[in-house]
């Protein structure tokens, strides 16, 4: 009972004192009833106060009690200045919350180990090559190469093939009830290697992954089982159709495992042997993960894998035709890289690694600015409390007792801010994830708020408390009673610290503004980049047929759609522009050997150029009779690249070893697969493709491009989705997007960075301005005697204004210069995030400088007005 009762007694300190007093009083009363003289009894008893204190210390925990007293005192101090305290807590909460939120994202995407056995021994294989003047990395592999590598290193590591998660159509019933699921083809032995146990049924094994096409078995992820089947145990043995195969569900994976592609929650795992490309040595369709055996060194293993992969590609390159020598050399110069994949391997990680770290650093800077503010606030308060501190020292308070007194106040601030910040982080991290989600394929990032996140938040709060609280606490505790009572020690030393903090604050603020400006300019330039086509009112209908269908049937469906009310024009294309797909090859012009530059191809029907509203420069559109190979329409970049100023119309070129195409038209440039890359040389070829015997080839999937009459093309989406199977029942729309959404999706990351960057720039500027105002106000207050005397002896208002601001503005300028240097030094780490933005751009440097200067002027105004309005008579009388 002892420790607990002592803790309880701390809380009920006052009633404890009353209880002890009552007992002591009853002792004296008893003595008097026994006939002793009241005065004698009291004298014999001694000082009741001292005994009460002694008993109190025995019956509670003294340090906890003093902490409690300090907490109450600190709370009173904070509530005395409600506005200041609220502002301090709010700014800290925002900054702590933003930092915790950023950590939550970074942790979930980049740091958190997969829930598998020995994640620290998991590596991902990729290849780096020097193409197009820069190092490019690619993590896709062909299965035959994977098989060779796996055999070569079987004593040092286990290799696993894991396909890129793909959102595909599958059905549990009829074809009219297709639904989407994230499907991943994985090596059968992956589950065993990862030490995973099934939640239901069984997992895939090595025996499910032996012969191509022979193992139509599927394992559901726990998450999918819960969402799609409500955890129905009867799901085992059910079948679904995906592509041409009927799969049987054999089991459900463990709850924590959501696949190895961080940012995607896999729904269905099937064996790699079921993938159609598993036998092709030129289909690169899966990642390769390596689980190293204990004690295996990465270096030699990498060399062995590299040699195996290189030998495979060298063998394959012997069969290459229609490629330039230079390209083949670069291709064979690829270097294999092993990278730790404890946190999984995904495209989302590659896309957002730098962005998230950059955002994390921005919010860390905001946090530093907020801390500086509170440190200055605490320093100013400590100054006004110097006499109180001196009094405490005089009556015997030790130095650490005073440090504790001030630190407890900081701790209250920090933990209130930490709690509010926790709420902010709770909300903000999922908000950011939802911002980067394309509508048709949402990223799903597990964002648990567990001990890692809570621990980070607590550590951050504690760190923040020490950062802004320790210095003022030490300073306050070092008070010398004699000098404090005489009117204060050197008044300038305190101001010097505050000024140095202001300089640091301005430097951080400049950096945040500068980087946010770079992000905003990138977004602005990227979203204002001309697309070369008119995206408004365009719908794209990704459509699949049950089996390969003759291209004339596709034309029939297009004809049918043209009859739907509200449709202006319909065309066919292999896929939409900016959809991410690409088809490339080397071309040889007029029978010359192929050049080193890749050209990009897109199959389109007659009328597509018109539907996209890409302007013609010369020549004509395709005729229904045109075929690929045969006719081609090229863009300006292709004309420049391959025809060097000659008129390309009527000239011919060939892709790879195929029959030549004759150029029938030239159109204006339009971006092909990405807004960020320079315009590629693009060839539009007829949708009707013929083989070497001149027979028309069939098509399994393509995209209808529909231009609608109404400004909201999505209004027609459900009608068109119904009309496609009505035209031909074996056709089915798998995905509908607007072309405008595809364009917008190109700038998702830039929009996010610009938006969050500007938001935090605003916060940083506001905090810095408030901090500046506070310090100036304090220094005017501190120097009011001096200012009063100067005014009394005739100093002009301008002189007074200069007097109170000159030091601060020197600090602001010093801080801004330091900020410029910091910005220049840091910009190369975020270069990959920028688009056509040069950090040396004068405008991008000037804008934050002027903004900060303007904010500083604004913040200085009240203090200056206060200073020049000091009435010397009133001031001196008050002294």
């Amino acid at each position: 009972m002892s420790l607990w009762s002592r803790i309880v007694n701390v809380v009920r300190g006052d009633s404890l004192s009353r209880e002890i007093d009552e007992e002591l009083q009853s002792h004296i009363a008893e003595a008097i009833t026994q006939g002793r003289e009241p005065a004698e009894a009291a004298a014999a008893f001694g000082s009741p106060l001292r005994q009460r204190e002694q008993s109190r210390d025995i019956r509670l925990i003294p340090w906890l009690d003093s902490l409690r007293a300090d907490a109450i005192f600190g709370w009173r101090q904070l509530t005395k200045k409600k506005v200041t305290s609220a502002a301090a807590i709010l700014s800290l909460a925002l900054a702590i919350g933003a930092c915790t939120g950023a950590f939550r994202l970074i942790d979930a995407l980049l740091l958190r180990p997969l829930p598998v056995a020995a994640p620290e021994r998991l590596y991902a294989l990729s290849r780096e090559a020097f193409f197009d003047g820069k190092i490019q990395s690619f993590d896709g592999w062909a299965y035959p190469a994977f098989r060779l590598m796996r055999a070569a290193v079987k004593d040092q590591a286990e290799l696993m093939a894991v396909s890129y998660a793909d959102r595909v159509d599958l059905t549990y019933k009829s074809d009219q009830e297709m639904e989407k699921a994230q499907v991943q083809y994985v090596s059968g032995w992956m589950f065993g290697r990862f030490g995973l146990r099934p939640a239901l049924g069984r997992l895939l094994t090595v025996n499910d992954d032996l012969k191509p096409g022979a193992h139509p078995y599927a394992v559901l992820s726990y998450d999918y089982w819960r969402r799609r089947f409500g955890q129905d145990p009867k799901v085992i043995g059910r079948t679904f159709r995906m592509g041409d195969d009927l799969y049987e569900i054999v089991g459900v994976g463990p709850a924590p495992f959501t696949g190895t592609e961080t940012g995607t929650v896999t729904d269905v795992f099937v064996p790699t042997m079921m993938y159609p490309g598993v036998v092709h040595d030129d289909w690169t369709w899966h990642r390769t993960l390596a689980q190293l055996k204990p004690g295996v060194a990465v270096g030699p293993l990498r060399a062995k894998l590299d040699a195996t992969s290189h030998a495979f590609e060298e063998e394959r390159a012997k069969g290459f035709t229609g490629m330039s020598k230079k390209f083949i050399e670069a291709f064979l110069g690829q270097k294999l890289v092993l990278e730790p994949a404890a946190a999984g391997a995904s495209g989302l990680q590659n896309d957002y690694r730098v962005s998230l770290v950059a955002l994390g650093l921005l919010v860390a800077l905001v946090l530093l600015i907020a801390c500086t503010n509170v440190a200055n606030l605490m320093t100013a308060q400590a100054a006004s409390r110097a006499r109180e501190m001196a009094l405490r020292v005089s009556i015997g308070a030790g130095r650490w007792r005073l440090v504790q007194l001030v630190l407890v106040e900081s701790a209250i601030l920090a933990f209130l801010a930490g709690a509010a910040g926790g709420l902010f982080a709770w909300w903000s991290a999922p908000f950011v994830v939802s911002m980067i989600n394309p509508k048709d394929n949402p990223a799903r990032l597990a964002l648990p708020a567990d001990w890692r996140v809570v621990g980070f938040g607590l550590a951050l709060t504690l760190g923040v408390m020490l950062l802004f609280g320790l210095m003022p606490a030490l300073r306050a505790s070092a008070v010398k009673p004699a000098s404090a009572l005489k009117g204060g020690e050197d008044p300038h030393s305190r101001r010097r610290t505050m000024h140095a903090l202001i300089a640091a604050q301005v430097a951080f603020c400049f950096l945040v503004l500068f980087v946010a400006g770079l992000f905003a300019a990138t977004f602005e330039r990227l979203s204002n980049r001309p697309t070369g086509f008119v995206a408004d009112r365009l719908l794209t209908l990704d459509t699949v047929a049950q089996r390969d269908e003759a291209s004339v049937f596709w034309d029939q469906v297009a004809d049918h759609l043209r009859g739907v009310p509200g449709v202006q024009s319909v065309a066919l294309a292999g896929w939409p522009l900016l959809g991410g797909n690409a088809w490339n090859g080397f071309v040889s012009v007029n029978g010359a050997p192929p050049g080193p530059v890749l050209a990009y191809f897109l199959a389109v029907s007659p009328g597509w150029i018109d539907a996209m509203k890409i302007p013609f420069i010369d020549g004509r559109d395709f005729l229904p009779s045109d075929t690929m190979p045969g006719a081609a329409i090229i863009n300006e970049t292709f004309a420049r690249q391959f025809f060097k100023g000659e008129n390309p119309i009527g000239q011919s070129f060939a892709k790879g070893g195929e029959l030549p195409c004759k150029v029938v038209g030239i159109v204006r440039d339009a971006p092909y697969r990405s807004m960020r890359e320079p315009i590629l040389p693009v060839v539009y070829v007829p949708f009707h493709r013929i083989d070497e015997h001149g027979a028309l080839q069939s098509v399994r999937d393509a995209t209808f491009i529909v231009r609608t009459a109404s400004a909201n093309p999505l209004a027609l989406a459900s009608i068109l989705r119904r009309e496609v199977p009505r035209a031909r029942p074996e056709f089915r729309v798998s995905n509908i997007r607007t072309q405008a959404d595809l364009v917008r999706a190109q700038t998702v990351r830039e929009r996010l960075l610009a938006m969050l960057g500007l938001f935090f720039a605003g916060v940083a500027l506001l905090l810095a301005a408030v901090g500046l105002y506070g310090v100036l106000d304090y220094s005017v207050l501190q120097r009011r005697r001096e200012i009063g005397i100067r005014i009394a002896i005739g100093a002009p208002a301008g002189g007074i204004a200069r007097l109170v601001t000159v030091e601060i503005f020197a600090m602001v300028i010093a801080g801004a210069l330091a900020g410029v240097a910091l910005g220049m030094a840091s910009v190369r780490y975020i270069e990959a995030l920028l688009y056509q933005v040069k950090p040396t751009d004068l405008g991008l440097l000037a804008l934050p400088s002027f903004t900060i200067l303007a904010a500083a002027l604004l913040a200085a105004l009240p203090a200056v007005l206060h200073a020049v309005r000091i009435d010397p008579v009133a001031m001196l009388r008050a002294e």
């Binding site: 007992e23 009853s26 009363a29 008893e30 002694q54």
Partner: protein, 109 residues
Amino acid sequence: MPKTDSPQGSLDLLVLKILSRRPRLHGYAIMTAIKDWSGDVLRAEEGSLYPALHRMEEAGWIRAEWIVKDSGRRARMYELTAAGKKQLSAAESRWQAVTSAVNRVLRTV
């Protein structure tokens, strides 16, 4: 014979012993008992009695309870706990050992 303070370290022992004979006494009664039972030789310093009582209470040797006396005044009554009984016998034997050792020294000189 002049009154003396209870010897070093004996106050706890005296309080425990008294409470073992007479359960439920308040502070003043304990003090009187020390005086009476020692034939007016020992007296507990009134000021140090209560911190000692509170310390022993925290240690779990004695427990206390408020009662309302006939006079209407509240009083805090103490009694021995099981742990206190154990502590008493340990303290008693230690005291015996110490005094007999002291006596041996006194006889030798």
